[in-house]
Amino acid sequence: MMMAERTVTIRNKLGLHARAASMFVKEAERYACEVEMEKSGVRVNAKSIMGILMLAAPFGSTLKLIAKGPGEEECVAALARLVEVGFEEES
């Protein structure tokens, strides 16, 4: 089955905090594909704010993004970019 995958590292000092998580979910919801985020073997729906917050990903942690369905490549690329620019925070 087709699938888009990307591993990203949290670059902003505060980690994946509440505001960053909600930015992330908003971005994920723009795509029709299914998208999941995985940290240390735990996988959650990347469109779920509860899921993303639960992962409690700190600065420097690595996350895997997995998307499946229409627009999967664009979705993973956009989400990876968001993480990699540190959620547009000054760090």
Binding site: K47, L53, M54
Partner: protein, 318 residues
């Protein structure tokens, strides 16, 4: 059986309920020793030299009968029997009260690097504790994107794509007096032989996210009876947006039961079409009530079909 994770032997020592202590290895070494199997084995005949059924990946329980047996032997025989048991290198041997490893046992265990532990509990009590503990620690787990609600005591796992109204349904159910266990992220663990227990991640406990409002603390807002810590999963519901063009056949009579599989365990599965204005919490309550009737052996669809068939055959005869 679903695949399980690993734990270190040290994790067993960390549980005060097991009253365990290490006999021959330090904690750092026990940290390195991995345990995979949730089953335990009583040493029994293995100490008499019959080791065909010794599963080295299972914790071995050594009690009074094994020790009394060794005491009937000559020194040479005893050394040989212990060696033939320990050379199989079981993952760990636990001595149950009042038995403790002898110097000879420690010496041979050192030679084969077998960890020896002792418990302050007698074997009959300890065996229940350790089984329960290993089942919990080594349970196969899975994280699901769903709600877990206790509706009239029935554990309902509610799934459905983002935006279909899962959280709102949960909130509505809470307001009708049911209990929220987890919103959006359910941590499920498999407990042999066929139990599935769902719980909330500790970080997200008591919280529910409602679009347009944000996070709500259900316990603070509705009280301590509005939440549950964990709940057995009894049935699975999938909410799908009603689509006129879809060829999917929703259940109309209720005589065919679908099942949804989680960690190798099947649960009754209901696919519910959602339309704007659907009263989902009422539907969930009805599913819970139907589940309770079915578990008492009362099947409305089956009863009706029998009645209809009888009527049809009577009429057909005329």
């Amino acid at each position: 059986m679903p695949s399980t994770g690993n734990i270190s032997l040290k994790r067993l020592l960390d549980n005060p309920d097991l009253s365990l202590f290490a006999e021959n290895l330090d904690e750092a070494t026990l940290e390195q020793r991995e345990l995979k199997d949730n089953r335990v084995q009583v040493v029994g005949l293995s100490i008499a030299g019959f080791t065909d059924h010794l599963y080295r990946e299972r914790v071995q329980l050594f009690g009074k009968s094994e020790m009394d047996y060794l005491n009937t032997l000559t020194d040479d025989e005893r050394r040989a029997k212990i060696a033939s048991f320990l050379e199989r290198r079981p993952v760990a041997v636990i001595f149950t009260d009042p038995v403790r490893p002898t110097d000879l046992f420690r010496e041979i265990a050192g030679q084969f690097e077998v960890p020896l532990l002792s418990t302050r509990m007698t074997s009959s009590i300890f065996i229940d504790f350790i089984k329960d503990h290993l089942n919990r620690l080594l349970a196969a787990t899975s994280t699901l994107h769903a709600q877990l609600i206790d509706v009239f005591g029935v554990g309902m796992l509610i799934m459905g794509e983002s935006g279909v109204g899962k959280s709102e349904t949960s909130l509505d159910l809470v307001m009708r007096g049911h209990k929220l266990v987890a919103d959006d992220v359910v941590e499920v663990r498999y407990i042999p032989p066929d139990h599935l227990v769902g719980a909330c991640n500790e970080m997200m406990r008591d919280l529910i996210e409602i679009r347009g409002i944000g996070l709500i603390n259900v316990q603070r807002m509705f009280g301590v009876t509005a939440v549950g810590r964990e709940k057995q999963i009894d049935c699975v519901i999938n909410l799908v947006l009603w689509d006129q063009s879809s060829t999917f056949e929703y259940e109309r009579i209720g005589s065919t039961v679908r099942y949804y599989e989680i960690l190798g365990v099947k649960r009754p599965y209901y696919i519910i079409p959602v339309r704007h204005g659907s009263n989902l919490s009422s539907l969930m309550e009805v599913i819970a009530r139907d589940h309770m009737l079915k578990s008492q052996g009362i099947n409305i669809a089956e009863d009706f079909e029998k009645k209809l068939e009888k009527k049809l055959s009577e009429m057909g005869g005329k």
